[in-house]
């Protein structure tokens, strides 16, 4: 078990399915269990891809 901070709310969560998860990492939690690790680099990369898309305002009318 470990403590997971849900943005200001802390709950005891079972971390057994994420061996090696370290303090400071992000995880998806479901029904009291951390089930997936969150890849921060991938998150940022996805946001960069979105930001590179043309804004609707730049569209020709």
């Amino acid at each position: 078990m470990g403590k997971v901070d849900f943005g200001g709310v802390v709950k005891d969560v079972c971390l057994a399915y994420l061996p090696g998860i370290a303090v400071g990492e992000y995880a998806v939690v479901h029904a009291g269990f951390a089930i997936s690790r969150l890849d921060e680099a991938a998150a940022l990369e996805t946001l960069r891809t979105f930001a590179a898309m043309e804004s609707p305002n730049e569209e020709p009318l």
């Binding site: 403590k3 200001g8 709310v9 709950k11 029904a31």
Partner: protein, 352 residues
């Protein structure tokens, strides 16, 4: 319990000490009842009228129109971050009076106690009630106590009734909203409901969220000092902001459109709601109000609310419309719209 009762300064006079818990005899009207009243209730509430122990409180008649209300308080657990059933029982009834535009004056308090309830806990509840009443400048002038058998209750239920006076020219009601009016909310939503949830058996989580329980009549006084031309005042308690707005829309036969991102909310409340699958618009508040005001007064009223300690985070959250009467709609941050529905009943955590 995050806020355990403090008994250091509470002296429990004999012979209450002989009875650490409530017994059926404490509600029997005999000697133990009398001792409970004399040693616990009277010193805490310290009211000359109450202390006379007459069958009814006899009070001078105030001039003007009376506002008269009653409410029962049932909460589990009895103590939660930021408050207890004691504060709720006073502030809840004070706020019901305030939302009618009344100055609260007198309260009565009736206790239903469960056999086995710790006297120290009762004393703490009563102490908190007394403090809340003093803070709100209302007098507790009459009371009653009954005891029910063990395991027939949650320790302590409280019913309070209140009387207040409505000044001339003040006429607020949920049926007064008109198209074009502006909807102001006095602060963040969901704090009370999520504070209680954080200590609910089986769902416990650590958080800094505290109940917002507070008496709102002073804030109402400030609002009415800007203009008496206030259409509706409502405290979004059970059912949350969604229930209050729906009530106004229904009673007034108007539509209401709110801007979701304008509704103030603590980050921790948002996180707790997401964790448990609650809609924050459905979560209870105990120290917030919704004011529907004519557009020309909106600026001045908002400024006055924000200047009050209980309204620092106040915001304009929406408008009254002549479209879709009876319905409340929310514009989402993305620019979509949805109907803000009435909650079904008690919110149930949605996990899977």
């Amino acid at each position: 319990m995050p806020n355990p009762p403090h008994f250091e300064n509470w002296t429990c006079p004999l012979p209450l000490r002989d009875y650490p818990t409530i017994t059926l005899a404490h509600g029997g009207g005999g000697r133990l009842s009398a001792e409970l009243i004399e040693h616990l209730f009277l010193p805490a509430f310290a009211d000359t009228t109450l202390s006379r122990l007459t069958d009814a409180a006899v009070l001078p008649s105030p001039s003007g129109r009376l506002a008269f209300t009653t409410d029962s308080f049932v909460v589990r657990p009895l103590f939660f971050p930021g408050g207890s059933i004691g504060e709720l029982a006073v502030n809840g009834t004070v706020n019901d009076l305030a939302m009618s535009g009344a100055e609260p004056m007198y309260l009565t308090a009736a206790f239903v106690l469960e056999e086995g309830f710790a006297i120290t806990e009762l004393a703490e509840v009563v102490r908190r009630m007394a403090n809340a009443a003093r803070a709100a400048s209302v007098r507790i002038v009459a009371g009653d106590t009954k005891v029910i058998e063990r395991s027939r209750g949650d320790g302590c239920y409280i019913t309070t009734s209140g009387i207040g006076v409505v000044s001339d020219g003040v006429d607020v009601g949920p049926d007064h909203a008109q198209p074009g009016d502006v909807v102001i909310l006095s602060g963040t939503i969901g704090d009370h409901g999520m504070a209680v949830m954080s200590v609910r058996e089986g769902l416990e989580f650590e958080t800094t969220i505290e109940s917002d329980t507070a008496p709102l009549h002073d804030l109402v006084r400030e609002i009415l000092s800007v203009t008496r031309d206030i259409r509706c005042l409502r405290d979004p308690t059970r059912g949350g902001l969604a229930a209050t707005l729906n009530e106004i829309a229904n009673c007034s036969g108007v539509g209401i459109v709110i801007e979701e991102k304008a509704v103030p909310m603590n980050a921790a409340v948002r996180a707790a709601c997401e964790m448990l699958g609650f809609d924050p618009l459905h979560v209870a508040n105990e120290g917030k109000l919704v004011a529907v005001v004519p557009a020309k007064w909106a600026h001045a009223v908002l400024a006055r609310i924000k200047a009050h300690p209980l309204g620092v985070q106040a915001a304009v959250i929406g408008r009254v419309s002549d479209q879709h009467p009876g319905l409340v709609a929310a514009r989402t941050a993305l620019g979509g719209t949805r109907v803000v529905s009435l909650p079904l009943g008690e919110q149930l955590p949605r996990i899977c």
